[in-house]
Amino acid sequence: MKQSRCFRFIALSLLLALLAGGLAPAASAEVTSAFKPVPVEELKVGMVLIGSQDDGFSGAHYNGLEGMKTALGLKDEQVLYKFNVPETAECDSALRELVDAGCQIIFGNSWGFMNFMEEIAEEYPEVIFSHCSGYKNNGVNFNNYFGRIYQARYLAGIAAGMKTQTNKIGYVAAWADNAEVNGGINAFALGVQSVNPDAVVYVKYISSWFDPTLEKQTAVALLALDCDVIAQHVDTSMPQVAAQEAGKFGCGYNTDMTPAAPDAHLTAPIWHWASVYTAQVQDVVDGTWVPENYFLGLKEGMVDISPLSKNVAPGTAEKIEEARARILSGEWDVFTGPISSNAGELVVKEGEALADADITGGLMTNLLIKGVEVK
């Protein structure tokens, strides 16, 4: 009898403890991070890059993480890079090597790393995985970061719209039916049209992020269509080189491409990844990292355009500053209506603005606005 009462007491308290234990983390996760603070000297940061240090896209990421290193005063051996990692099982082994090396946070800079990172995040819940340009988030230790590069493209579009004489602007684009690419094209075209309503943007997709020869050939084909400004959403400076050779003009991407095409390049939308890297790694140090997505823009200094070159049309700087001020004010963004698709359908009504979900995916995936033609 006594024994059974004792047993009942123990069982009840166990049950209570279980209930409390089950509830407690759920209640506290909303306010604090699930990760303990990491002393700066014990910190290790890893990064898997699709390209090398000297390619525009991965080079910008490299500079960003180096910027973080300087900002937080880390030593060289605390930041580990895996360059030239393809979007295959090699990505998985690169991630594992970084985990084994003791990294507390690991970044990956290419779309195709997404699923590999998601899987390994399940396996190592104590390590943080942060993926650039995708859309997944497991709510525990795997988040996503990207930037509002479309804002910078809008500004570059102004420079192109002011410069064109033929009112035809070529755009060497990577992939069709991709929200990032189409968002860039549309923002650029809106920038063009804001200063030059008659200009059209001719797009050719090359189905590759990176192919020096094909990028150049595509730019040459656009120039043959009477385009006199060549913009790009591909990684090498070849489209700008093609414009330079033809005595025409262009807007690069990723880095300031003026040195590659000194007489052609106007300005390029560029990335300052250091801001997002510093913010996330600082959170790891402070023990305040939470699995939220980062989507920073012009305001946070995440994206910008490279300094205007000598080739821009007079008055360009003023127009760009005007637009920049409007974006920075926060009252207006690039995808504010009315916006019509190139099939003539009104997709964003007057006074409305696109939600972020429709910029990074959704509507943008298949949208090309009025004045954009796929050639």
Binding site: G51, S52, Q53, D54, D55, N84, K204, Y205, I206, S207, F210, D211, P212, T213, L214, K216, Q217, T218, V220, A221, A224, L225, T236, S237, M238, V241, Q244, E245, P259, A260, V374, K375
Partner: protein, 323 residues
């Protein structure tokens, strides 16, 4: 409309000629190699070596002559590794060639990255003078002629050199005693050996020159296509298209010239076909050269004409003791 059509047609053909030159060099190099009885799958790698050597030589010396020479020698250097492995050490030809591709790509990307990162302005550039020397230039005002002007008379010196090389190689293979001996080495090295032809010397010489030609294709990519701007993975698979072209050209240099023009045209075709006229997926266009190669393989194997086949000794290393 019609004027627009002709403008686009001319632009397309001109782009085809620009695109075909590296393919032609790679194909000529591989034809010469296979005529000596060796399959060298390292075309891509040797093009990488030529591309980086030409780039570095141009950057350091500012001499067009040295740029071209360095590219040739680097390609030949890559081929020397291959020749030593397969001719002297009798290693497997396929494996040796494939490793040469991986090696060449790695070396080129490594050196290119170093050159760019160590350059004072953050990236390495050629002088305007050197770029102008290697870029397409009009010859004596003839390039002003309608349609054929730019097609025939506005090209890089490397383009004319490629055409010369294919004519010279055709004459060499068909009309010279050395060429006859070479064909014997490629078809039946034992018979050639019995004839008193120094088989190994022939193999070495032609594998090396073949590699040098591939290297020139690389120089064209880094110095003419990319105008002296180094890019990682600069060759991007053009060496493999050249491998397919060797079959397409039936191991004939002049057919290689025509074939590379066809492949060059196929590679830029999708950029000149207006979307509103023909709208098929880009992937189909990318497949075209390989579909055409498959068709050629099928047709040539059905017809079984001996002169259109691969040299019989290809892929098999020659051991004198095994005769």
């Amino acid at each position: 409309m019609t004027q627009d059509f002709w403008g686009q047609a001319t632009a397309f053909l001109y782009a085809a000629v620009l695109a075909c030159v590296p393919l032609l060099y790679g194909t000529l190099g591989e034809i010469l190699t296979q005529k000596a009885g060796n399959i060298n799958l390292g075309v891509e790698g040797m093009m990488y070596l030529g591309a980086i050597a030409g780039f570095l030589a141009g950057y350091r010396t500012d001499s067009a002559m040295l740029t071209v020479l360095a590219g040739f020698l680097a390609g030949a250097g890559g081929a020397l590794i291959y020749a030593f492995l397969t001719v002297s050490l009798k290693a497997n030809q396929n494996v040796s060639g494939l490793t040469l591709t991986v090696f060449g790509m790695g070396v080129a990307n490594f050196l290119g990255e170093k050159a760019k990162l160590n350059a004072p302005v953050g990236t390495a550039f050629m002088s305007e003078r050197l770029k102008a020397l290697l870029s397409p230039v009009g010859i004596g005002g003839l390039d002003g002629l309608p349609v054929i002007g730019p097609l025939l008379f506005r090209h890089s010196v490397l383009t004319y050199l490629a055409v010369l090389a294919s004519v010279a190689m055709a004459l060499y293979l068909r009309r010279s005693r050395l060429g006859l001996n070479l064909r014997a080495v490629g078809e039946n090295p034992a018979a050639a050996d019995a004839m008193g032809v120094p088989v190994s010397k022939y193999k070495y010489a032609h594998i090396l020159v073949g590699g040098g030609l591939c290297g020139l294709g690389g120089v064209y990519i880094s110095m003419v296509t990319c105008l002296g701007n180094w890019q990682p993975n600069i060759v991007a698979g053009q060496g493999w298209i050249a491998m397919a072209l060797v079959i397409f050209a039936a191991w004939k240099p002049l057919r290689a010239a025509a074939g590379s023009l066809v492949f060059g045209a196929l590679s830029v075709l999708r950029l000149y076909v207006p979307k509103d006229v023909v709208d098929i997926p880009a992937a189909l266009f990318t497949m075209l050269p390989f579909i055409v190669t498959c068709l050629v393989l099928v047709v040539s194997s059905v017809r079984l004409r001996r002169e259109n086949q691969q040299p019989a000794g290809c892929g098999v290393n020659y051991f004198r003791e095994e005769r």
